[in-house]
C-alpha cells in the first residue's frame, strides 16, 4: 500500500476521471437511431408504440424513434391515472408536440379502480405495479392494432436496481436506452434537444402524489451511477469500493438491490428435463434470419 497522500491523490484522480466523462452524444444518437430503425424494419414492421410519461426516459426514446422512423410511424400513448401529477401530462404533451408523434390518451383510472374495488386493502406498491401493468397491456394491445413494436424506456440504472415493475414498465420488444445510466440519459437528452424543463425535473414514477425516485431510493442518481460505474463497468470489488470512499452501508445496499432484482432481468426459469431445452441449450439468436 502506498503512502496516505499518494492513496488520497489516486482516489481523487479516479473519481474525478469518472466525473469528467462526457457521453459521445453524436455517436450514441447515430447508433440508437439506427438500432430502432434496423430492429423494427427487419421484423417487417414500420411502426412503434411507446408510453409517454413526461419524464426524461420516455422523452428521449420518443425523440430517437421520431428520428429513426419519422413521427408518422411513432405512436406515443399518454396513460394518466387520476392521481397523476398534471405537470406530467403537460410535459408529455410538449414532447408529442415537439416531436410531431401520433398520440393517444387512455386514462387508466377506471380500469385500475374497478380492479381494486375487490381488494380495497391493497398497498401503494400493489397499486403502483397494477398501474404499470395496465399501461403495459394497453401498449401491447395498441401494438397489435397498429402493427407496431413496443419500445422500452427503462434505463440501465433502474434495470440494475430493480426499480421497475416486471411485466409492467420493464416489458418491451426492444429498448434503445437500456444500456445508458440515468446520468447518461440526462446528458444525451439534453444534447438532442429534449426540453430543458423535462431534463432538469426530479425523476418520478408518479405512482402516488409527491413520489420522487431519489427520495424513495434514498440516494441520488448521480451517487448511484458513480458507484455502479466502478462496481459494474470497472469491476471494483467491495473492499476497493470502500477505499474509493463510498459509504459501506451504501455499497451494501446497492449490492443487495442488484442481486435481489436479478430475476427481473431474466426470462422465467424453465425446469430442464429434456436433452434440449428452451433457455438452456436451445440457443438461437433472436434476430434469426433477420
Amino acid at each position: 500500500m502506498k503512502s496516505t497522500d499518494a492513496h488520497t491523490a489516486m482516489v481523487h484522480r479516479l473519481r474525478q476521471g469518472y466525473r469528467d466523462r462526457k457521453v459521445d452524444a453524436d455517436l450514441l444518437r447515430k447508433v440508437l437511431v439506427a438500432f430502432i430503425r434496423d430492429e423494427v424494419h427487419k421484423v417487417g414492421l414500420r411502426h412503434v408504440v411507446l408510453g409517454i410519461s413526461g419524464g426524461v426516459d420516455s422523452s428521449l426514446v420518443a425523440y430517437l424513434a421520431a428520428e429513426a422512423l419519422s413521427p408518422i410511424n411513432v405512436t406515443g400513448v399518454l396513460m394518466p391515472y387520476r392521481t397523476s401529477d398534471p405537470q406530467s401530462s403537460r410535459d408529455a404533451e410538449e414532447v408529442i408536440r415537439a416531436t410531431g408523434l401520433q398520440s393517444l390518451r387512455v386514462d387508466i383510472s377506471a380500469q385500475v379502480d374497478a380492479y381494486f374495488e375487490h381488494f380495497p386493502q391493497a398497498t401503494v406498491l400493489q397499486r403502483g405495479n397494477k398501474m404499470a401493468r395496465e399501461r403495459m397491456s394497453i401498449l401491447y394491445d395498441r401494438s397489435a392494432a397498429l402493427g407496431a413494436l413496443v419500445l422500452g424506456t427503462s434505463n440501465k440504472t433502474e434495470l440494475f436496481l430493480g426499480y421497475g415493475t416486471i411485466y409492467g414498465d420493464l416489458a418491451s420488444a426492444i429498448n434503445p436506452i437500456g444500456d445508458l445510466y440515468k446520468t447518461q440519459v440526462w446528458a444525451l437528452a439534453a444534447a438532442i434537444g429534449v426540453p430543458r424543463a423535462i431534463v432538469d425535473k426530479h425523476p418520478t414514477a408518479d405512482l402516488w402524489q409527491g413520489q420522487t425516485d431519489e427520495a424513495e431510493l434514498g440516494f441520488s442518481y448521480a451517487q448511484v451511477d458513480e458507484l455502479l460505474h466502478f462496481m459494474i463497468e470497472r469491476r471494483y470489488r467491495h473492499e476497493e469500493l470502500l477505499q474509493l470512499g463510498f459509504e459501506s452501508s451504501f455499497v451494501t445496499r446497492v449490492e443487495e438491490l442488484v442481486t435481489r432484482s436479478q430475476y427481473k432481468r431474466r426470462m422465467p426459469l424453465i425446469a430442464k428435463v429434456s436433452g434440449r431445452s428452451i433457455t438452456h441449450d436451445f440457443r438461437y439468436p433472436r434476430d434469426w434470419k433477420r
Binding site: R21, K22, V23, D24, L27, L28, K30, V31, A34, F35, D38, E39, I174, D179, L180, Q184, E233, F282, R283, Y284, P285, R286, D287, W288, K289, R290
Partner: protein
C-alpha cells in the same frame, strides 16, 4: 487447401507508382441466411467490378452473420458447398476475400476467411484465437485454427487475421516474418464505449493497434469491419487502410453500410522499408530461442510456477539466467 509457403515469383515492383484499387464491402449480413448473403456479396462484387476494383474484401463471417450460436452447423460450408464455390468462381478477374463458417471433413467448425482470385481458391485462414469472454462465446462454437501463414497472390504477399487474432501480436509478428506486405484484418467488432475518449472504447483501441502494426511491420493493414445489428449488438464498421508507417490511407464511415473504394500505392511498402529497415535487423533466431526457453521452463516448473506464491522471496525462479 494448404497454404503455400514457397515464394512464388513476385509481381514486378519496379520504380514508380503501382496503384491498386481496393473495394471494402462494409456490409450487414443477414444472420444465418446464406442465400441472402450470397446475393449481397455477388451484387457488391459486380458494383466493385464496375468501379475497376482489383481487390474486394468482406468482413469476418460475411456469408453467415456473427452471433450464430446454434446456427453454426446449419450455415457451415465445406469447400464443395455450391454457395461457397459459386462465390469463389465469382472472383474472376479480381481478388476477393470473404468470411464463412467452414466445416472440416471431421465435422469440426471453423471461423474461416477465404481468399480467392480469378475464380480459384488461393488460401483459407482459420481463426486461431477465439474470444470466449464477456459477450463472446466463440470457444463454444468453433475449433481454433492451427496455422498463421502468409501466402502469395497476384497482387503481392498477403496475410489474414480475423478479429481477435489481431489482439495477439504474435499473429502479426508471424505474418510479418513470413513476408506479408498487406495484412487483411477481417472483423465483426461490436461497439463498446458510450463516452468520448473512453479507455474501453474499442474504436480507439482498434485504431491504435492497426496504426502500430503498420508502423512496426512496414506493411499495409486493411481493416474490414461489418455494420448492422444482431440481438442488440451494434457493429461499428469504420473499415480502414493503414499504409506502411502508420499513415491513414483511407477510412470508411462508422455504422454505414456500403462499398467503399480507395487507391493504394503498393510501392509504399518498399519505400517505407528502405527508410525504416527494422525488418532487416529482426532476429528470428533470438526470438525463437528465447520463446523455446520460456516454453521449456513452463513445462519444467509446472503448476508451482504460477500458484500464487511463486514470486515470494526464497522461491526460486528458473530461467532468465545466462
Amino acid at each position: 487447401m494448404a497454404t503455400k509457403t514457397t515464394t512464388a515469383p513476385r509481381v514486378d515492383s519496379g520504380p514508380g507508382l503501382r496503384s491498386l484499387r481496393l473495394g471494402l464491402g462494409q456490409i450487414a449480413p443477414k444472420l444465418g441466411d446464406v442465400a441472402a448473403n450470397l446475393d449481397m456479396h455477388l451484387d457488391m462484387l459486380e458494383a466493385a467490378r464496375s468501379q475497376s476494383a482489383e481487390l474486394v474484401l468482406f468482413p469476418e463471417l460475411s456469408l453467415v452473420g456473427y452471433q450464430l450460436r446454434d446456427l453454426v452447423p446449419d450455415v457451415a460450408q465445406t469447400r464443395r458447398t455450391p454457395q461457397f464455390t459459386r462465390l469463389v468462381q465469382a472472383s474472376h478477374g479480381l481478388s476477393l476475400g470473404f468470411g464463412f463458417v467452414e466445416e472440416a471433413a471431421d465435422h469440426r467448425f471453423f471461423n474461416s476467411y477465404a481468399f480467392c482470385e480469378d475464380g480459384r481458391l488461393v488460401s483459407v485462414h482459420r481463426k486461431a484465437y477465439l474470444p470466449t469472454y464477456g459477450l463472446f462465446e466463440e470457444g463454444r462454437l468453433y475449433a481454433a485454427g492451427e496455422h498463421i501463414r502468409a501466402f502469395d497472390t497476384k497482387l503481392g504477399r498477403f496475410g489474414i487475421v480475423i478479429c481477435e487474432d489481431l489482439w495477439h501480436p504474435s499473429a502479426m509478428y508471424i505474418l510479418s516474418q513470413d513476408g506479408a506486405e498487406l495484412v487483411v484484418a477481417a472483423a465483426a467488432s461490436p461497439l463498446r464505449g458510450a463516452d468520448v475518449g473512453e479507455e474501453h472504447s474499442n474504436i480507439d483501441v482498434w485504431a491504435t493497434a492497426l496504426k502500430m502494426y503498420s508502423q512496426l511491420f512496414g506493411c499495409f493493414v486493411v481493416l474490414v469491419n461489418r455494420v448492422g445489428f444482431e440481438d442488440g449488438l451494434s457493429f461499428w464498421g469504420g473499415s480502414r487502410v493503414l499504409a506502411p508507417g502508420g499513415r491513414s490511407s483511407f477510412e470508411a464511415p462508422l455504422l454505414e453500410p456500403g462499398l467503399f473504394t480507395c487507391e493504394i500505392d503498393w510501392n509504399e511498402v518498399r519505400r517505407y522499408r528502405v527508410s525504416d529497415p527494422t525488418l532487416r535487423s529482426e532476429r528470428l533466431d533470438l526470438t525463437l530461442s528465447e520463446l523455446k526457453r520460456i516454453q521449456r521452463d513452463r513445462i519444467v516448473r509446472g503448476p508451482e510456477a504460477d500458484a500464487g506464491d511463486a514470486r515470494k522471496p526464497g522461491v526460486e525462479r528458473r530461467g532468465g539466467r545466462p
